[in-house]
Symmetry: C2
Subunit: 239 residues, 2 copies
């Protein structure tokens, strides 16, 4: 960390600004990973998939930097009230972004395998889902940077759309599996890719919840409606 | 929170002790959920599965209590050095335990559906995996409560076993799907159950890593060897 060698103590405001910049950079990287992993999947672009896998380390490193920076801020500045909540929120959010990066990397790994299997389904649902979660992720992180509780609440509500697309993909893939055993490998990996995007959406929602709490000093009014019904799904094989 | 109405300010040591007790209770609940969800799956016990689903709210509530307690400790006590690291670790660990609770609940939901499907595979792998991750979870949380970095390091190493069992289950289930389309619904849910247990194992490892950092003030020496190779797995249907 560059601060350690400095003789001039940065102002507290500057430090908070730097923290916001680190979060913005980490969020931007994760958005790109989420988008590129989907692009690699849909276009069967294994080169791009490898790039996504290779870039995940940057996100991991940023999480460690942000945590160290926050711990030092807490120790040296002993912030109160809204600053304290912001710093705690920044740590939680960077933790969530790191997980999102892991999911994107896993999607990219599976994209490599899927590209060698027969094409079994239109990828429209995946494109749609990736776009939805990427938007939610961007808005969730912006709501933190702008300390905007109303924006955070909108992200919280938008996750239901992601769940709808996921449930559709889940049923479609099970049907493809039942129609032809040669689809099973590709469909299984696609199931996990869809699940990963659904979880990325969940993490964007969690980020929004954290921001709402940090800004308003309270929790969201009720349990988020959980729209992923696939845990209960049963699809019958063709007779 | 009972503290708010108290006239006597608790000693700092008492507050840290209370924090440890809350973490121990939360960890104990999560261990039970992990064990019961597996038991419900293996015994096809839908009543127990429903209990697991219903109990998840307790874990969520404890996470909120722990976070609020930690934020108050940070604001009122402005702890330094090892206490600060312990409090930050406690928040991160409770966040990970909450996720573990979610995975156990999801396993229980799927256990309900699986119980209505034909039995397609021996459940030995699942029992074994659940036992391994439950042990790792217990040891990871104990390492936090005892501030034991060496114990944390042992948990970190033990996750490779979980990955081995998971990879075996993954391939077995794909084979069952290819043999008979009537196995596909059950096998798909079982794939996600296995994945959930693998993730619970990952979270136990993350807890251990957090504890190591909190106790030693540094990170683990190297990237954990990632033994889940299933993202690259290809299984061929019988000719």
């Amino acid at each position: 960390m560059p601060e350690q060698g400095e003789h001039i103590v940065r102002s507290y405001e500057e430090q908070l600004k730097k923290l916001r910049e680190m979060i913005a950079r980490m969020g931007g990287l994760a958005e790109r990973q989420v988008a590129d992993a989907a692009y690699a999947l849909v276009r069967r672009d294994t080169e791009l998939a490898s790039e996504v896998i290779g870039r995940d380390g940057e996100i991991d490193a940023l999480e460690r930097d942000i945590e160290n920076f926050c711990v030092r801020l807490l120790a040296l500045r002993q912030p109160m009230a809204s600053d304290l909540r912001f710093i705690i929120a920044a740590m939680k959010v960077s933790n969530a972004i790191e997980r999102i990066g892991d999911y994107a990397r896993n999607c990219a790994k599976r994209a490599v395998v899927i590209s060698q299997q027969p094409q079994i389904s239109s990828m429209t649902g995946f494109q749609w889902m990736a776009k939805l979660v990427q938007e939610n992720l961007k808005e969730a992180i912006d709501s933190l940077l702008n300390q905007d509780a109303a924006a955070a609440e909108r992200v919280w509500a938008a996750d239901a759309n992601v769940d709808d697309v996921y449930n559709g993909i889940f049923r479609e893939l099970l049907t493809h599996m039942m129609e032809d055993a040669r689809n099973i490998t590709a469909a299984t990996h696609l199931l996990f890719v869809a699940k990963n995007y659904e979880r990325i959406g969940d993490h964007a929602t969690n980020i929004a919840e954290t921001v709402f709490y940090a800004v308003r000093g309270g929790t969201l009014p009720e349990e988020r409606p959980k729209g992923d019904t696939s845990a209960y799904a049963v699809v019958r094989p063709p007779v």
